[in-house]
C-alpha cells in the first residue's frame, strides 16, 4: 500500500480549496437567509432556496467528503441511498400534495367535524 505519490502538491492545495468551499458555503447560507425576506414571488423564493441547498449539499459531498478525488463507486453507492431517500420524499410529498388540494376543496363544502378525544388505558 506504500505507493509513492506524485500528488503531494495536490494534497497541499487542498487547504486552499477547503477554505474557499467554507467561505462559499457561508456566503450561500447568508443569501438563503436574505432571500426569505426579499419581496419576490413565492416561486422564485422556493426555486432559489432549493437551488442553493442543492449547491451546498454537492459542495460538501464532493469537496469536504472527498468524492471528487475518490473512486466513482463511492459516489454511486451514496447516490443509490440518496435517490431512494429523495425518491421516497418526493413520492410522499406529491401524493399528499394532491390530498391537500382535494382536502382544501372538501373543506369548503363540509363543516368541521368535532372529534371526541380518546382516552388510552
Amino acid at each position: 500500500m506504500d505507493i509513492p505519490l506524485p500528488q503531494t502538491a495536490h494534497e497541499h492545495g487542498k487547504f486552499r480549496i477547503f477554505m474557499q468551499v467554507a467561505m462559499f458555503l457561508a456566503v450561500v447560507t447568508g443569501i438563503e437567509i436574505v432571500i426569505i425576506f426579499v419581496p419576490v414571488s413565492d416561486f422564485v423564493q422556493y426555486s432559489v432556496l432549493a437551488f442553493l441547498s442543492v449547491i451546498k449539499f454537492l459542495a460538501v459531498i464532493f469537496y469536504f467528503m472527498h468524492l471528487r478525488w475518490d473512486k466513482a463507486f463511492c459516489t454511486l453507492l451514496f447516490f443509490i441511498g440518496l435517490i431512494l431517500g429523495g425518491g421516497t420524499l418526493g413520492a410522499l410529498v406529491s401524493l399528499f400534495w394532491e390530498d391537500r388540494t382535494s382536502a382544501t376543496a372538501d373543506a369548503v363544502a363540509i363543516a368541521p367535524i368535532e372529534v371526541e378525544s380518546v382516552k388510552l388505558v
Partner: protein, 287 residues
C-alpha cells in the same frame, strides 16, 4: 511515528481490496447511503404533516428564532471545515494539527448542541410546544432531535479519536495507558458538559438582554462556577495533551479519521436540508 514518510500513502485508493476502495471507507459510504433513506422518511413525515396542517398546530414562524438557527447552521458548516482540515492534517502525518482541528470541530459541535438544547427548552417552557402537544411538535422534535443525536454521537466519536491520538508507541504498560486515557476522557467529557452549559447560558443571556455588554455581564455573573471549572478542565486537557514522545497514531490511521469525517460531514449535509425544508420555507408563503 507521527511524521514518518508523510504523504507516502494513497488515501483515495487501496489496491489490496477488490474494489480499490479502503474497506472502512466503503462501509461508511454504505452506512451513509442507508442513513439518507432514514432521514428521507423523517423529512417526508414532517413535510406531509406541514402540507396538511391539523387544527391546533402552532405557527412555526411564531416559534422559530431564525437568527439563532442561522448562527448554529454557520457553526456546523465551520465545524465541517475543521473536520476536513483535520483529515487533511492526518493525511500529511501532522498529529498536533490533527488534534487542534479535532478539538475545534468538537467545540463547534458542542456549540451547535447547546443552541439546539436552548431552542428545545425555549419551545417547551415558553412556547408550550411538546412532543405530544401537536403533530407539528411530534414531527419537528423527532426530526431535529434525531439529527441532534447524530451530532452528539459525532462529538463522542471525535472525543474518542482525540484521546486515541495520544496512545504511546510501544513500551508502555497497558494499565498506565488505560489510567491516563480514562483521566483524559473524563476531563474531555467534563469540558464538553461545561461548554454546553456555557453556550446555553450565553444564548439565554443574549435572548434576554440582547447582544450587549449587559448580556455578557449577566452571563458572567450567573456562570462564575462554570467558567472557573471550564478554565480548570481546559488547563487539565492542556497538561494531559502535552506531547510525550512517539505515538501509535499517524498517517497510516488517516482512514479512521477520514471515516469519522465522512460521518460528520453527513450530519452537516442533513442539516443543510433540514435548515431549508423545516426552517427557511416556513417564512415563504405556501404556493
Amino acid at each position: 511515528m507521527s511524521h514518518a514518510a508523510a504523504g507516502a500513502i494513497d488515501h483515495h485508493h487501496d489496491p489490496s481490496t477488490s474494489t480499490g476502495i479502503p474497506n472502512k471507507k466503503l462501509f461508511m459510504w454504505a452506512f451513509l447511503a442507508s442513513d439518507c433513506m432514514f432521514f428521507g422518511s423523517l423529512i417526508s413525515t414532517h413535510l406531509v404533516y406541514r402540507l396538511n396542517p391539523i387544527e391546533g398546530n402552532p405557527g412555526p414562524t411564531d416559534l422559530f428564532d431564525i437568527e439563532l438557527t442561522s448562527f448554529s447552521t454557520f457553526i456546523l458548516l465551520m465545524s465541517s471545515l475543521m473536520m476536513a482540515l483535520s483529515v487533511s492534517a492526518i493525511q500529511k502525518g501532522n498529529i498536533s494539527s490533527t488534534r487542534r482541528c479535532l478539538l475545534t470541530t468538537m467545540f463547534f459541535g458542542l456549540i451547535f448542541l447547546g443552541c439546539q438544547v436552548y431552542e428545545f427548552s425555549h419551545f417547551v417552557h415558553e412556547k408550550g410546544l411538546t412532543l405530544s402537544s401537536s403533530i407539528f411538535g411530534s414531527t419537528f422534535y423527532v426530526l431535529t432531535g434525531t439529527h441532534g443525536c447524530h451530532v452528539a454521537v459525532g462529538v463522542l466519536w471525535l472525543a474518542l479519536m482525540y484521546v486515541r491520538t495520544f496512545k504511546p508507541a510501544g513500551g508502555v504498560s497497558s494499565m498506565a495507558w488505560l489510567g491516563k486515557t480514562l483521566l483524559h476522557s473524563a476531563a474531555l467529557v467534563l469540558t464538553m458538559v461545561l461548554l454546553v452549559d456555557l453556550t446555553l447560558g450565553l444564548v439565554h443571556a443574549i435572548a434576554e438582554d440582547g447582544l450587549s455588554g449587559a448580556a455578557f455581564a449577566h452571563f458572567a455573573g450567573s456562570h462564575v462556577v462554570s467558567l472557573a471549572a471550564t478554565v480548570v478542565t481546559v488547563f487539565g486537557l492542556k497538561v494531559l495533551g502535552k506531547d510525550r514522545g512517539a505515538v501509535d497514531f499517524g498517517e497510516a490511521h488517516a482512514i479512521d479519521v477520514e471515516s469519522m469525517g465522512l460521518y460528520w460531514h453527513f450530519v452537516d449535509i442533513v442539516w443543510i436540508v433540514i435548515f431549508t425544508v423545516v426552517y427557511l420555507v416556513e417564512y415563504v408563503p405556501l404556493i
